[in-house]
C-alpha cells in the first residue's frame, strides 16, 4: 500500500514538473500585470496586443505559408520517393534509407549550418526561398518514414494485378497504390506540417531579409526578458498544436 502511494506521488511530481511551467505561462497570459507572480486581474489585452503586433503577424504569415508549402512539396516528393525506395533491390534500398536518416539523426545545428554553406555556395540570398528549401529538406525523411510501413503492409500483387489487367504503371500508381497508402501519406503530411511550424534552429540559420517565423520571433523576444504577449502566443500555439496532434494520434491509432 505504501509503495503504491509512493509510486503515485512520484508520477504526480513528474507531471507537476512537466505541466507547471506551461500552466503558469498560460494562466499569466490572462494576467493584467506585466510580471508573473502578481495577479492583477483578468484581461485579454495581451491577446489583443498580439494581434496588433505587425512583427508577430508577419511571422505568423510566414510560419503558416512555409508550413503549408513545405508539407505539400515534401509530401509529394516523399510519396514518390517512398514508393521508389520500396521497390529498390536490397543494397541500394539500404544505402538510400541510411542517407534518408542523415537529416533525422544529425544534430539540428549541423544540418542548419551545412544548408547555410550550400546557399552561400550557390550564392542564393537568404530569405523565404532558403527557409522553404531547408524545411522541405528536413521534412521529406519523416514523410518517407511514415509511408514505408504502409507500403510494406500492402499486398504487392495488387499493382501487378492492375497492370496485368491493362493498367499503365502510372494508372496503377494513381488508382491502386496511392489510395492504399493514403493514411501514411496524410500522416506524413501532417507530421511535416507540425515539424515545419515548430522548427527553430534550421529556420534561424537559413533566413534573412526580414523573413522570420514565430519561433525566431519568440527567441528574440524572450532574450529581452519576460513578455506577456509571448505568454498569449504560447497559449494559442499550444492549443492549436494540441488539436492538430490529437488528430494525428487518432489517425495513427486507427490504422
Amino acid at each position: 500500500m505504501v509503495s503504491r502511494g509512493l509510486k503515485k506521488l512520484y508520477v504526480f511530481l513528474i507531471f507537476l514538473f512537466l505541466y507547471a511551467p506551461i500552466a503558469v505561462l498560460i494562466v499569466f497570459s490572462f494576467n493584467d500585470g506585466r510580471t508573473s507572480g502578481t495577479w492583477s486581474g483578468f484581461t485579454l489585452r495581451w491577446y489583443v496586443e498580439l494581434f496588433k503586433d505587425p512583427a508577430i503577424l508577419k511571422a505568423l504569415y510566414y510560419t503558416l505559408l512555409i508550413a503549408i508549402l513545405a508539407s505539400i512539396i515534401s509530401t509529394i516528393i516523399g510519396t514518390f520517393a517512398a514508393i521508389g525506395i520500396h521497390n529498390m533491390p536490397g543494397l541500394s534500398k539500404k544505402v538510400v534509407l541510411n542517407l534518408n536518416y542523415i537529416p533525422v539523426l544529425n544534430p539540428d545545428i549541423v544540418t542548419a549550418v551545412s544548408l547555410m554553406a550550400l546557399y552561400r555556395f550557390f550564392k542564393l540570398d537568404f530569405g523565404f526561398t532558403t527557409m522553404l528549401l531547408s524545411h522541405i529538406t528536413f521534412c521529406i525523411p519523416y514523410v518517407i518514414l511514415s509511408i514505408l510501413p504502409k507500403l510494406k503492409q500492402m499486398n504487392k500483387h495488387l499493382a501487378e494485378a492492375a497492370m496485368d489487367l491493362g493498367a499503365t504503371p502510372f494508372y496503377a500508381l494513381r488508382k491502386v497504390i496511392i489510395p492504399e497508402i493514403m493514411p501514411g501519406i496524410v500522416t506524413g503530411g501532417l507530421m511535416a506540417f507540425t515539424l515545419s511550424i515548430d522548427d527553430f534552429v534550421i529556420s534561424f540559420f537559413n533566413t534573412g531579409n526580414g523573413v522570420s517565423n514565430l519561433s525566431i520571433e519568440i527567441f528574440s523576444m524572450s532574450r529581452r526578458g519576460i513578455n506577456p504577449t509571448i505568454n498569449a502566443l504560447s497559449a494559442l500555439m499550444f492549443v492549436s498544436l494540441l488539436v492538430l496532434l490529437l488528430i494525428i494520434n487518432k489517425r495513427t491509432e486507427n490504422h
Binding site: 508520477v11 499569466f28 545545428i109 544548408l115 519568440i218 532574450r223
Partner: protein, 276 residues
Amino acid sequence: MKRIAYPYLLWILIFTIIPLLLVLYFAFTTGDSQNFNTFNLSLENFKKFFTPIYLKVLLKSINLALVSTILCLVIGYPLAYIISREKPKNRNTMILMFIIPMWMNFLLRTYAWLTLLGRNGLVNTVLARLGLPVLDLMFNDKAVMLGMVYNFLPFMVLPIYSVLTKIDKRLLEASEDLGADVATTFKRVIFPLSIPGVITGITMVFVPAMSTFVISSLLGGNKANLIGNLIEQQFRWTGDWHFGSSMSIILMIFILITMAITSRFDKDKEEGGRLW
C-alpha cells in the same frame, strides 16, 4: 517503379550530401568566408580549437550533456517502469499526458522556466512578498541542466517504456515461480531486457543536449557558453564560417562516436526510436 525515387535522390545529393561536404571543405580551409576563391587548405581551425579556451567549452558541453543524460535516466527509468506496470488503458492515458507538454513549442517550453524562476518570475515574486531574499535561479549552469532535463526527459522515458511494455509476461512469472523476489526479478530479468531502450534513450538525450544552443542562450545567460553557442556565434555573428565548420565537424564526430557505441547495444532501433 523505382525510378520515381530519382528526384529525391537528386534532392539528397544537393541538400544533404553536398552541404556536408561543403562543411568539411570549410573546416579544412581558411580565408574570407564570403569568397570561395580566397580559400586555402589548412588545419588552422582545428589548431585554434584545440587550445584551452575552446577545449574548456567542449568539456563543459560534454559534462552538462552527460549529467543531464544521467539525470534523465535516473528520473525517467522509474517513471517508465511505473507506467509500464499499469493497466493498458491507464498507461496509454498516462503516456499521452506525458507527451502533451512536448507538443508545446520547444522555445516556449524553455522560456516558460523564465516566467517561473526568473528574476521577476513567480517564485521570486512570492519570495519577495514573504519578505525573503530574491534568488538567482536562472542564468547559470544548473538552469541549463534543468532546461535540458525538462526538454529531453520524454526522449529517455518513451524508448524505455516501449521496451518494458514488450517484455513477455511469462518471463516474469517464470522468474517468480523459480523463487526470485521482486528485486531479483528486476535485477536479473527486467533490467537486462530493457537495456536496448535505455541505450536508445541515452542517445536521444545526449545528442540534442550536446548540440543545443537554445537552452543555454535562454537559460544560461552569457556565462553558459556551449559548443552549440560557439557554432552559432561563428555563423551568425562573427562570420568565421571556417572555424564554425570545424567545430561542427568535431561535434558530429562526437555524436557519431556516441551512436557507434550505442548502436552496438541497440537491436530494436525501429521500435525504440519511435516517438510519435
